[in-house]
Each structure stands twice: as structure tokens, then as C-alpha cells.
């Protein structure tokens, strides 16, 4: 509509000024590209530098001016880190923590989300409000009393304090999945009821299968959080062979500071699983954050 109205006005202008009206968009895009390119480089460069250092021998690292390209390529650092510390044990421990926590979150959050989204029961709104309000409480407030509780349970220096809470729901995951479940039409539930399915069956056969993308989003986030978690393992794990990659790395640093080649190799190996998950499931990361932002 506005296009039709504007056309006669535009055509009365001479060609040169029309080119002028076109220019701001082109300039704007060029400036945007330049800005983003500098930004992207700033983001990636530290990682490239990590890779470059990890592939150098010790005498090639401490040189001035710094040399970006390792020649020759030295793989020794990647072998050494598994010898000087039990790095493969750390990796296995992190994997155990991340996988078990993720499974627990997916199961229990989806159960709660389904109940909050589609079942009627006394106290529903109050309980949901309470759960959402708990998002406001920072981790540091509950850290001390939860530690005391875990100590009384005799769970210190086990993975239980890290994994079992993940099997007891969570405000973020429940909130996110509930938003998704609310979009599933009620007709589907009615149809399943007519077919003789009870409410458990509806959860298992309709809601869980349809929630694929939302579960993937929650899954990648939980996996990332637990894989990267530092303070949890730091508080609860004492035996070095129980350490996760995060503590292993932090410890590595205090023990082998200035062995930069090994440190960068260790950092790289610790990042690899999460970067692979991210590249494969980037869509879900972006979706998860975007919906977080629009949820108000």
C-alpha cells in the first residue's frame, strides 16, 4: 500500500539522488560487517591461540615475538597430559556427572511440566508460583545449608550431591517445558482418553514424543552446565581420582603453571565434548536462550 503511494514521488527524482537514497543501507551493511568481523575475530582468536600453543614444543612456546603457526606440529602435549595427571579419569567423571544429571532433569522436569501444564489438581497455581519464585534464590544462599545436609547424609566425596538433586526437578527446566506443553492442543488429550489411555499414558505417548525439540534444548543446557560446573565438584569431591575435568584443570594450573603447551592441550581436550555438542545442536542452544529472553 505505502509502496504504491510512494512510487510516483520517487520516480520524479533524478537518477543520481536515487543512488543517494540507496547508499545508507549499503554503508550500514558494510559497517555492520566490519564491526562483526572484528568482534568475531576477538571471540575466536583466543581459541586459535590455545590450539596453536597446544601444538608447540616447549621451546617454541616461550619465544618473542609470538609465532602463530606451530612448525613442526608437536602432539606430545596431548600425550603428556594423560600421563602427568589422570586426565582420562577426569573426563570419565565429568561424563558420568553430565549424562546422569541430564537424564534426571529431562525425566523429572518433563513430569512436573506436564502436570503443571495439563492436569487439574488442588494447589496447582500456588505450587507453580513457589517453584518459579525459587528461581530468584541465588545458589550461594543454599550452598552452605545444602552442604550441611549432604554431610549429614554421608554423601561428601561422592557424586550423589551433584547428581541426585538433578533427579528432583528444577525450576528452569520445568518452566521451559511447561511453556512448550501449553502449546500442545487439548484435543489430542481428549482423543487419547477416548482411546482408553490414562494420564500417565498421555504423558508417555503424547507429551514426551512431541516435546523432542524442547527436551533437546533443556538437555544441551543441562549437559553444558554440569560439564562446566566448577563450584559443585569443588565443594563435594575430595579424592583426586573423583575429580571432574573442571577441578582437574584448575588443579593442573596450580601444579604446572608455565607449562603452557600442556595447559592449552588440557583446556582444548576439556572443551572438545561441549564444542561438538554445541556445533551439532546449535539450533537448540540459540532457541533455549531466545525463549528465555522472551518469556516475560
Amino acid at each position: 500500500m505505502s509502496d504504491v503511494g510512494a512510487r510516483p514521488v520517487v520516480t520524479t527524482f533524478p537518477a543520481s539522488s536515487r543512488r543517494l537514497t540507496l547508499r545508507p543501507a549499503v554503508v550500514r551493511r558494510a559497517v555492520a560487517h566490519l564491526f562483526l568481523l572484528i568482534g568475531a575475530l576477538t571471540m575466536v582468536l583466543p581459541f586459535v591461540w590455545m590450539l596453536s600453543t597446544a601444538l608447540k614444543g616447549n621451546n617454541a612456546i616461550l619465544v618473542f615475538p609470538p609465532d602463530f603457526f606451530p612448525h613442526p606440529l608437536v602432539w606430545q602435549n596431548f600425550i603428556d597430559i594423560f600421563k602427568v595427571v589422570p586426565f582420562s579419569t577426569y573426563l570419565a567423571n565429568s561424563a558420568r556427572y553430565a549424562v546422569l544429571a541430564t537424564v534426571g532433569q529431562l525425566l523429572t522436569c518433563s513430569m512436573a511440566a506436564y502436570a503443571f501444564a495439563r492436569l487439574r489438581f488442588p494447589g496447582r497455581d500456588l505450587l507453580f508460583l513457589l517453584l518459579v519464585a525459587s528461581l530468584m534464590i541465588p545458589y550461594q544462599v543454599t550452598m552452605i545449608p545444602v552442604f550441611v545436609l549432604m554431610k549429614y547424609l554421608g554423601w561428601i566425596d561422592t557424586f550423589r550431591p551433584l547428581i541426585i538433586p538433578a533427579w528432583m526437578g528444577g525450576a528452569f527446566g520445568t518452566f521451559m517445558l511447561r511453556q512448550f506443553f501449553l502449546t500442545i492442543p487439548r484435543d489430542l488429550i481428549d482423543a487419547a482418553k477416548i482411546d482408553g489411555s490414562n494420564y500417565y499414558g498421555i504423558y508417555l505417548r503424547i507429551f514426551l514424543p512431541l516435546a523432542g525439540p524442547a527436551l533437546a534444548t533443556l538437555g544441551v543446557f543441562t549437559f553444558m552446565w554440569s560439564w562446566n560446573d566448577l563450584i559443585g565438584p569443588l565443594i563435594y569431591l575430595n579424592t583426586p581420582l573423583k575429580y571432574t575435568v573442571s577441578i582437574g584443570l584448575a588443579l593442573f594450573q596450580s601444579k604446572f603453571l608455565t607449562v603452557w603447551g600442556q595447559m592449552m592441550a588440557a583446556a582444548l581436550v576439556s572443551l572438545l565434548p561441549i564444542i561438538v555438542v554445541f556445533l551439532l545442536a546449535q539450533k537448540y542452544f540459540v532457541q533455549g536462550i531466545a525463549t528465555t529472553g522472551l518469556r516475560q
Binding site: 568482534g39 502436570a115 513457589l130 565443594i235 554445541f278
Partner: protein
């Protein structure tokens, strides 16, 4: 007969709901609501976990305010961190999102690049930056040296250690905020910009009269979230500086960690946690109050 009734009861809508909610409700009680109350009580005690807790009334809070210089230092350091990283992070990520919103090519490449630090662990990132900050052979001092800046001992100097940690934190958080901003920007109808353009509004005027008001709920959300997260900074200081040099990077959470898990002052650590909670709560409520003056909801 009795079994049939039990099955029917278990299959009823409300019982199904409670069964499915059981783990969540137990978790909420055991790991959040219970600890909030317990933590409050612990904050009035002196307790090293080996002997029985000793009720000391307000002594922990009094010590925090009047005797313990570290509690003030850590609160000051954290405030310094929040005051710098939140505005810088919000403005920079908004600019990036606006650049990404120009219908340009390569958006996926840029997004991946900005997102790489977000998914990476803070520990690995802290190690990478320690190497970049290395005074003698580090890349950063080399680059700065090319423009004539003398070598900086980034993490060893009390006046540069906190800025160094701020840089890492801003750098890491940009991609996260950017994605939220981009989603907000894409929700603004194009026609509004076109209408403003026809009215003769220049680029900056369009930014001020269309982008800012329509994006204000998103800006508000990102700011609230950034403030909450910044008050809780821990990993970077733990790995890079251990709170030093001369306590220049002792943040409040790092201090809680020290008090609670290195020195086993459970009561004092719990009290510090409650102060942090109060500070975050006040800031959040303040923003919700202030939002009426600048946030526009449709």
C-alpha cells in the same frame, strides 16, 4: 475389589499430578526452601561442623559490618565488577545484535563465533586468558607493545587484576545477551521502521524512537539477568587469581567459598550468603520499580 479402587485412585487426574510432581516437590523442599530457612538460622551461629553449633545472635552480621575488612572489600570488588561489566556487556551485545539484524550474510558464522565462549567452561577460558595475559610471552602484551604500550603484569598488579577479569567476563557473556537481543529485534515489525523512514526520521532517530522503546522489555530483562549473574562471579577469580593480588579480586562469592569451605566458618559464610541475597533482591526490586519509567509493554 480394593485393588481396583486403588488403581482407579492412582489413575485419577489429581493423584497422577501429585505422583508426577513428587520428585520436584521433594527437591524444592529439600534443596531450596528448606535450605533457605536453615541457612537463615545457621547465619546466627558459630559452627565449624565438627562441634555443635553455637548460637551467637547477630554477631556474624555485626562482624561483617564493623570488624571484618574483607567483607567490605569483597562487596566493594563485586560492586566494581557489576558497575563495569553490566553496562559494557549490555551496550556491546546490543550493538552486535543490531549489526546482525541488518539482513547481512554470514549470520550463522558470526553467531557461532560469538557463541563459542558462551558454551565453553569458565575454567578453560580462564586458563586461555591467563596465557594471553602472561606478562613476558603473552599475546596481549605483544599486541599492545606494537602500539607502544609497555608490558603490563595483568594478573599480578592489584590495579589491573580486576579489569583483566572484567574483560574476560564481558568477552564471555556477549554471545548470550546478543542472542536474546536478536530475538527481540526480530520481533519488531519492519513496517514501523519503514513508516519512520517515510516520516523522514534519520537512522539515530529511528533507533531512539522505534528500536529502544520496542526493545525496552528485552533490555530490561537482559539487564536484570546480567546484574544477578555478575553479583555471583566466582569461577574466573578462583582459577585466575584466587582472590589476589592483595585481595583485589576477592569477590563476595569467592569470599563465601573461602569462609565456608576453606576455613569452615559455616555461620559466617551463611550470613554472607544472606547479605548477597539481600543485595541482589534490592537491585532486582529497584529495577522492577524503575522499569515503569522507561520500559514499554504493548
Amino acid at each position: 475389589m480394593a485393588r481396583g479402587t486403588l488403581v482407579r485412585l492412582l489413575e485419577s487426574e489429581r493423584i497422577t499430578a501429585y505422583v508426577l510432581l513428587l520428585p520436584t516437590l521433594v527437591g524444592l523442599l529439600l534443596f531450596t526452601l528448606g535450605p533457605v530457612v536453615a541457612g537463615f538460622l545457621i547465619s546466627f551461629t558459630r559452627w565449624d561442623l565438627t562441634s555443635a553449633p553455637q548460637w551467637v545472635g547477630l554477631a556474624n552480621y555485626q562482624a561483617m559490618l564493623s570488624q571484618d575488612p574483607l567483607s567490605r572489600i569483597s562487596l566493594g570488588n563485586t560492586s566494581y565488577f557489576v558497575v563495569v561489566t553490566v553496562p559494557a556487556g549490555v551496550v556491546l551485545s546490543l550493538l552486535i545484535a543490531m549489526a546482525m539484524n541488518q539482513k547481512i550474510r554470514g549470520v550463522v558464522f558470526y553467531r557461532t563465533a560469538f557463541f563459542l565462549p558462551v558454551v565453553s567452561s569458565t575454567v578453560a577460558i580462564a586458563l586461555i586468558w591467563e596465557w594471553l595475559y602472561e606478562p613476558q610471552y603473552g599475546l596481549l602484551n605483544y599486541v599492545l607493545g606494537m602500539v607502544g604500550v609497555p608490558p603490563v603484569r595483568w594478573l599480578a598488579n592489584p590495579s589491573t587484576a580486576m579489569p583483566a577479569i572484567m574483560i574476560v567476563s564481558i568477552w564471555r557473556g556477549l554471545g548470550f545477551n546478543m542472542v536474546i537481543f536478536l530475538a527481540g529485534l526480530q520481533a519488531i515489525p519492519r513496517e514501523l521502521y519503514e513508516a519512520a523512514e517515510i516520516d523522514g526520521a534519520a537512522a539515530f532517530a529511528r533507533f531512539r524512537s522505534v528500536t529502544i522503546p520496542l526493545l525496552s522489555p528485552t533490555i530490561f530483562f537482559v539487564t536484570v539477568l546480567s546484574i544477578i549473574n555478575s553479583f555471583q562471579v566466582f569461577d574466573q577469580t578462583y582459577v585466575m587469581t584466587q582472590g589476589g593480588p592483595l585481595n583485589a579480586t576477592t569477590t563476595i562469592v569467592f569470599y563465601i567459598f573461602q569462609q565456608g569451605f576453606q576455613w569452615f566458618h559455616m555461620g559466617y559464610a551463611a550470613a554472607l550468603g544472606y547479605i548477597l541475597f539481600a543485595v541482589i533482591l534490592v537491585f532486582t526490586l529497584l529495577q522492577f520499580k524503575l522499569q515503569r519509567t522507561w520500559v514499554h509493554y504493548e
